[in-house]
């Protein structure tokens, strides 16, 4: 999965935030819709789409979508 594809997949887990809001450098925890349910959705998406496991701590430790992507890729 490329970074662009990851950003799209990340955006797809949100219901109310417009897709165009999401860029590689989006600080996702600052989005109004961000919360525990979205975090679980991201964890599931990464598991399903990339066959990698991220944790809640990983999501907390990263700031931008790109940072998260790089972390997932490094696993």
């Amino acid at each position: 999965m490329t970074l662009d594809e990851f950003v799209k997949a990340f955006a797809a887990e949100f219901d109310d935030t417009p897709e165009e809001t999401f860029k590689a450098d989006t600080r996702y925890k600052e989005l109004d819709e961000w919360g525990s349910l979205i975090a679980l959705s991201i964890i599931s998406m990464v598991d399903d789409e990339m066959d990698k496991r991220v944790t809640g701590a990983d999501l907390r430790n990263c700031s931008t979508i790109e940072e998260l992507f790089n972390l997932v890729e490094s696993k």
Binding site: L37, L40, S41, S44, D48, A57
Partner: protein, 209 residues
């Protein structure tokens, strides 16, 4: 009986007295179950406590996740009970104890599959209790609160966060496996001879508030 031989041996080494045996078998494998049931003598009781967790929002549930968790948490229990009854492996007055969970009614975001399977355990136990009552058999459930166990180290749950969250919500603190085992001993013994189809919450007060 369990899949993990190392943990079976660990449990066996902690048991007092003689005559204990372990069986390595996968509750989800029909072949393993057939071999296991054939090899068993007539038994007075069984505690069914297999369980896995799959944490994911409803919209992310996959066929694989559903199949895996339902197989492990309820279908295996049903299969083994059915086979034990069919092969007349329960003694008259035998006792079956299922371990479900307070998550059947105390639900959490992302845990719909787990709650659904454990709710199914409670319902199945009640229906089975009615069905086998003519054989003087009893069937009951224990729904525990949080008991730290190896299910945490499976990686399904983020351990530190989980422990902190639940530590604050158990008035009597965390339970340990022996707190649940003591409930099983009661339900397996004649002390509970008039108890069937019941669902016991053993949770250190977790669901009080």
């Amino acid at each position: 009986m369990a899949r993990n031989e190392e943990r079976l041996n660990e449990t066996l080494s902690k048991m007092e007295g003689e005559g204990h045996v372990i069986h390595k078998a996968d509750l989800c494998s029909s072949e393993d179950l057939n071999i296991l049931v054939e090899s068993l003598p007539v038994i007075d009781g069984v505690v069914l406590c297999a369980g896995i967790i799959k944490t994911m929002p409803v919209k992310n549930i996959t066929e694989d996740a559903m199949t895996e968790i339902f197989n492990a948490n309820i279908l295996g229990d049903i299969k083994i009970c059915s086979r034990l009854l069919k092969k007349k492996k329960f003694s008259h007055g035998g006792s079956v104890v299922f371990i479900s969970s307070v998550s059947t009614f105390n639900v959490k975001v992302g845990n719909s599959l787990y709650s659904a399977t454990k709710g199914a355990v409670n319902s199945f136990a009640k229906a089975m209790a009615l069905e086998v009552s003519k054989q003087n058999m009893r069937v009951n459930c224990i729904q525990p609160g949080f008991v730290p166990s190896s299910i945490l180290s499976s990686g399904a749950i983020e351990e530190d966060e989980f422990l902190k969250f639940y530590a604050e919500r158990h008035p009597l603190g965390f339970g340990n496996p022996s707190d649940i085992a003591n409930g099983c001993i009661y339900l397996l013994s004649d002390a509970s001879r008039w108890v069937t189809g019941s669902i016991f919450t053993i949770d250190g007060g977790y669901t009080l508030q």
